[in-house]
């Protein structure tokens, strides 16, 4: 039987601050030698005290405003107690009551429908360290010891908890994508699952026949969107099977095993654990009053959905173009600078979504470090529009600029094709060359067998290709006719 699926997501975003949440250690810890990105505070050395990173609060407020949350000026930190080797203080400083932002939403599009997913709250917390188990598969089972690396301990996280409003993997993915886009637009987080700056815990249950919520299971260790899809598929099928067989589900946390494609029971769901939450007394109260919030609100950039609407209107783009161009803020910004160059927005959009993406893929580059400036692309496209260069030639020039990292002018100079129309004697050289190499076709024309003119057309096509489209087709046809005929 297929019961109605209820999904809630907890997303952890690593905040783009320079230093950790409660100490001056750098947040640039990836690749660092273990236990070198640490200090007495994040190692919980006796006598040390946490010191709040104000920028982290600012970024949390930004994200909260982007999610249309209310900002709590009564916000404070709490201690969440548990013993584990990656938690030096044996408590995590987090927020339990009065989180910094509450009651927002994210609008998604999935299965052709628009849907609003409510956000319960956003709170700040510090990350734990990392455990390394010296087993073949890196898992804890069978390890006689484990190593702990505290480099990540104390990294600033904002946890976004949704209401259980999603009902399919597709909706879940759409929600995560939207959160990630917003985080990147607001420059709050890189939001990358591969590098761990965006982590997701999935909560899924099946509705009972009377419509009440079923037993909730939390799934951890889903490290990619694909994993989330597969894990949800497995877990929903597992839960359905258990219920169909008349069994009862346990409220628990299960780990996703990507290799085996299954979720495995880990421990009782953390809601049963007693974390002995109480107020963190080593930190002064946070002030996130109305003036502070207003100042941040004023400094917010255009939201992705605002930009999308504006692009469609302002640049007369299709909804599809609007959506794709505004997916990444860097691409949207690139487009706008390019369009200032005078070429039609439609042409710019087309080129950026097709040719530029192709070149970026080929050179394995990100648009934020693309060697071709948006203004230069704008210039190039204007030349195409003014018919100074053909479309084909322009594609070559773009590739040249990207590969050799040279300016537009240099690329034009050093390009192997002449710019402007190839005409007269220059064209004759090419026509003669083609005629030389296509003796069969020429023979057919000369002997009068090319009644439909397809061989002549074929020769013209070759000439056009040779000139990279920059010759006048009429002139080519005439020249081929006279020289081949």
């Amino acid at each position: 039987m297929s019961r109605e699926i209820v999904i809630g997501l907890e997303i952890h975003l690593q905040l783009k601050t320079k230093t950790k949440l409660f100490c001056g250690c750098s947040t640039d810890y990836i690749g660092a030698v273990p236990n070198t990105n640490v200090c007495p505070v994040c190692l919980a050395v006796p006598g040390t005290l946490p010191l709040l990173n104000d920028r982290a609060v600012e970024l949390a407020v930004r994200m909260g405003l982007g999610l249309d949350c209310s900002i709590n000026d009564n916000t404070r930190f709490h201690r969440k107690h548990y013993f584990y080797a990656d938690l030096p203080k044996a408590y995590q400083i987090t927020q339990y009551e009065y989180p910094i932002a509450v009651g927002g939403h994210v609008d998604i599009s999935a299965g052709g429908k628009e849907k609003r997913i409510r956000v319960h709250h956003l709170h700040l917390e510090e990350d734990a360290g990392k455990l390394v188990h010296p087993t073949a598969d890196g898992r804890l089972t069978g390890a006689s010891y484990s190593l702990v690396d505290y480099n990540r301990g104390g990294m600033p996280l904002s946890e976004i908890v949704s209401e259980p409003d999603m009902s399919s993997a597709e909706e879940a993915i759409a929600y995560i994508t939207q959160i990630r886009q917003l985080a990147r637009y607001l420059d709050v987080s890189d939001g990358e699952m591969e590098s761990g700056s965006l982590r997701v815990d999935v909560n899924v249950s099946l509705k009972n026949s009377d419509g009440s919520l079923g037993t909730r299971v939390e799934i951890k260790n889903v490290n990619s969107l694909r994993s989330i899809e597969r894990a949800l598929e497995f877990e929903v099928s597992r839960q359905n099977r258990v219920l169909d067989e008349g069994g009862a589900l346990v409220r628990e946390t299960r780990l996703w095993d990507d290799a085996a494609g299954v979720t495995r029971s880990m421990r009782g769901k953390e809601g049963e654990r007693d974390y002995r939450y109480y107020t963190e007394m080593d930190l002064a109260p946070i002030s996130a009053g109305p003036d502070y919030v207003e100042a941040i609100r004023k400094g917010l950039p255009e939201m992705p959905w605002e930009k999308r609407e504006r692009f469609i209107k302002q640049y007369s783009l299709s909804p599809e173009e609007g959506l794709r161009l505004t997916e990444l803020k860097e691409v949207a910004d690139y487009f706008e600078v390019c369009a200032e160059g005078g070429a039609s927005p439609s042409r710019c959009a087309n080129w950026i979504l097709m040719e530029v993406q192709r070149v970026l893929r080929e050179t394995d580059t990100d648009i934020s470090v693309f060697s071709v400036a948006a203004s230069e692309l704008g210039e190039l496209l204007l030349k195409v529009e003014n018919k100074d260069i053909s479309n084909t030639q322009a594609k070559d020039i773009l590739s040249l600029m990207a590969e050799k990292k040279i300016s537009l002018d240099k690329a034009i100079q050093s390009s192997e094709t002449a710019i402007g129309r190839i005409t007269g004697p220059d064209l004759e050289v090419i026509v003669r060359k083609i005629i030389e190499s296509e003796k069969d076709a020429v023979e057919a024309i000369r002997s009068g067998k090319d009644k439909k003119g397809s061989k002549a057309k074929f020769l013209c096509g070759l000439v056009m290709r040779e000139t990279r489209g920059s010759a006048d087709p009429a002139e080519v046809a005439s020249m081929v006719g006279s020289l081949a005929g």
Partner: protein, 492 residues
Amino acid sequence: MDFHKMSAIEIAEGVKTGRWSASEVLAIHLDRIKKIDKRINATVTLSEESAIKAANETDKAVREGIDPGPLAGVPFMVKDNFCTEGIKTTCCSRTLADWVPDYDATSVKKMKEAGAVLIGKTNMDEFAMGSTTESSFFGPTLNPRDLTRVPGGSSGGSAAAVAAGYCPIALGSDTGGSVRQPSAFCGVHGMKPSYGQISRFGVVAYASSLDQVGPITRDIKDIAAVMDVLAGPDENDSTCSSYGRPSFSSRLPDGLKGKKVAVLGGYDTGLVDPALIGAVEKAAKYCVSEGAEIGETILPVATKHSAACYYMIAWGDASSKLACYDGIRYGHHEDGENLFDMYKKSRTGGFGEEVRKRILIGTCILSRGFYEDYYVPATKVRRIMADEFARLFESFDALICPVSPFLPTKAGMPEDNPARVRLGDALSSLANLAGVPSISLNVGFTKEGLPLNIQLIGPRFGDTGLLSIAFALEKVNGRPPVAKIDEEGGVR
């Protein structure tokens, strides 16, 4: 010269003017410690080498005409829960018995910058949990005023050191009376400033919202001098207030004239030793003779609930702050069969009985099913207490009451009357819970030579005014003398 009988200000004055050198001052104090500490056991670590080096540097600065600081050449000791760079900091527990921090607590750093010379670390109740210094991993400290009695706790070593003339200044930490009560037992002065007055950075935590650094001296002018050095904001402690502190020393002579002083009533004075009641009355009379008004007051909520409130909040916080001792990054470690077995063995092996008891009870207090009924009401009562004090100080400048209801107890024989114990805990924790300043002032001795101290409590961040009242009341009996201890260990 009897440097060990001088006040800190007197010593510094002489060093700054070149009358004597920091090195000779140091030598006298070190000599005294080495001779009598085997009887008193107030010292955990003597840092002789670094002290001599520091004293030499001070002398060099003086010779070169460089300002050596307001406490130039003054020897000082700190309780063994203050982190001292390169010097063992044990909290008198097996857990940290070999731990050497690589940084100085802010208060230690500031004392050094003021020219004071750190000579060693003092004995304490394990992790500051206790009121007799008998739970120390390194054995008990004896009271220099009477070697058959306890020096109080948890800063018993620091109070004993000052009483015995090891140094004119020692620093302690006060969470529920741990500076003021041992000061009373040892017959010296001790102050717990307002919460947030002095940085807690580098003081190993017991309870985050109650701990404060406190100076112990034989002269109120020295307390004020230490406050001038230590009080102030610290970028490493966000609970340390950044308000602009006045000069504590310059306001000392303000005096009692025109002040209103309240005497605390509303508790069973029958539980208090008559000599200590007498001390309070003597102080009250002196206030009147100096032009102050005396009144009576009661603090119904505070008096009734302070002790219970203290246990809930302090022990709950302690269970949290002591959770980091897992034997992984520092501290006592014992191997186990798995992670949790390792935790259990390391922590059980490292902590003494009193500490284990408080951690267990504190964990319980914060647990589901207890938190709402015990901890949360305690935090509410605490706010009510703070309000009671605030209202009191709208009409009065200071409150007088005993520090402890009983005189120093005999070693190994703690007070066994539960009502007296509760009253003692209540009186000593009032000021911590309300965040207000409190001074334990010596005003004399009994015929048997046991010290008589009174407690003076003032409004939050009214430390300056409180010190000036204490300065005036010090004249009741004058500055307490150094305890007479001969090398055979006889006292007086």
